[in-house]
Symmetry: C2
Subunit: 167 residues, 2 copies
């Protein structure tokens, strides 16, 4: 019984190991490591930016999804991680009025820790560029660019995205 339970648990867990597990991705200049398994996270919302022609998908870790579904996102709780996946947009080849993802641009993250990231609104920021996942920023000061862009939505706890409502 113990044996079969253990085997079943191992098989179950194996299905949740992300494909990139074990692949080495360099830390961001502020010391943040790329969150493991982010591409298996659940959706917070899609969006489309026509100023830089990108389609985006914001995902959240379990803490974020729980907060989003309970409507408790101002502030988002400590432990929240939001992932923003960004692709260049392109016209779909079979539906002219549809814009769909093209080349992958980057993955961005906001990590909520009110103590650790007190000087940037309680959020740690990091970005990894392209398929090669190159860390963004020459030094740790790159976060001022992130924080500056998010400051206009300070009253929304620095987050632009409104989580989708689903039945």
């Amino acid at each position: 019984m113990i044996r079969s339970t253990t085997i079943a648990a191992a098989v179950f867990c194996a299905a949740f190991i992300p494909a990139h597990a074990g692949k080495s991705v360099e830390s961001a200049p502020n010391g943040i490591n790329i969150p493991q398994g982010y591409k298996d996270w659940r959706a917070i919302a899609p969006s489309h930016r026509t100023d830089n022609n990108t389609l985006r998908l914001i995902l959240g870790n379990d803490v974020a999804i729980k907060a989003a579904r309970e409507g408790k996102t101002n502030p988002w709780p400590d432990g929240t991680i939001l992932a923003k996946l960004v692709w260049k947009d392109r016209q779909d080849e079979n539906w002219a009025a549809a814009t769909v993802p093209g080349a992958f641009v980057h993955a961005e993250f906001m990590i909520k820790d009110g103590t650790k990231y007190q000087t940037t609104g309680g959020w740690g920021f990091a970005r990894w560029l392209g398929a090669e996942q190159k860390p963004y920023g020459k030094d740790a000061d790159f976060v001022q660019e992130c924080f500056g862009c998010h400051t206009p939505v300070k009253t929304r706890d620095y987050v632009f995205t409104t989580p989708v409502i689903l039945p």
Copy 2:
């Protein structure tokens, strides 16, 4: 040992029970039931349609995600379920050039079973409208509308969406 394993498994599973579990949703006119837990599925791709002003997010069950990540989607394997979540689009209130999800429109599904759904390309179709999740279609013939719209992409196994590539 058995007891602690069982308790741990129960706690783990509880975290994955979707919020709508137990809520009664009427079957589609062709007998298809709404797939349980679909809003916890992983992402296949976002898209934006400017002919009907909707933002969309296509999710897949575990079979679909495995196929998508392995590039084995023509044909998609039996057991695949694709969920398309659709919202009216709207301009973001804090970023004028961003289009974000507005009101929820409907959830649509394609269920792959080459035997069961042989007459419609191996796919079962169903749609539930709005927050109230009302089944779409007066009778089982509604699937001809779905199938007709997807027939132009027969050479892509009737699926418009190209799964995103992620590092």
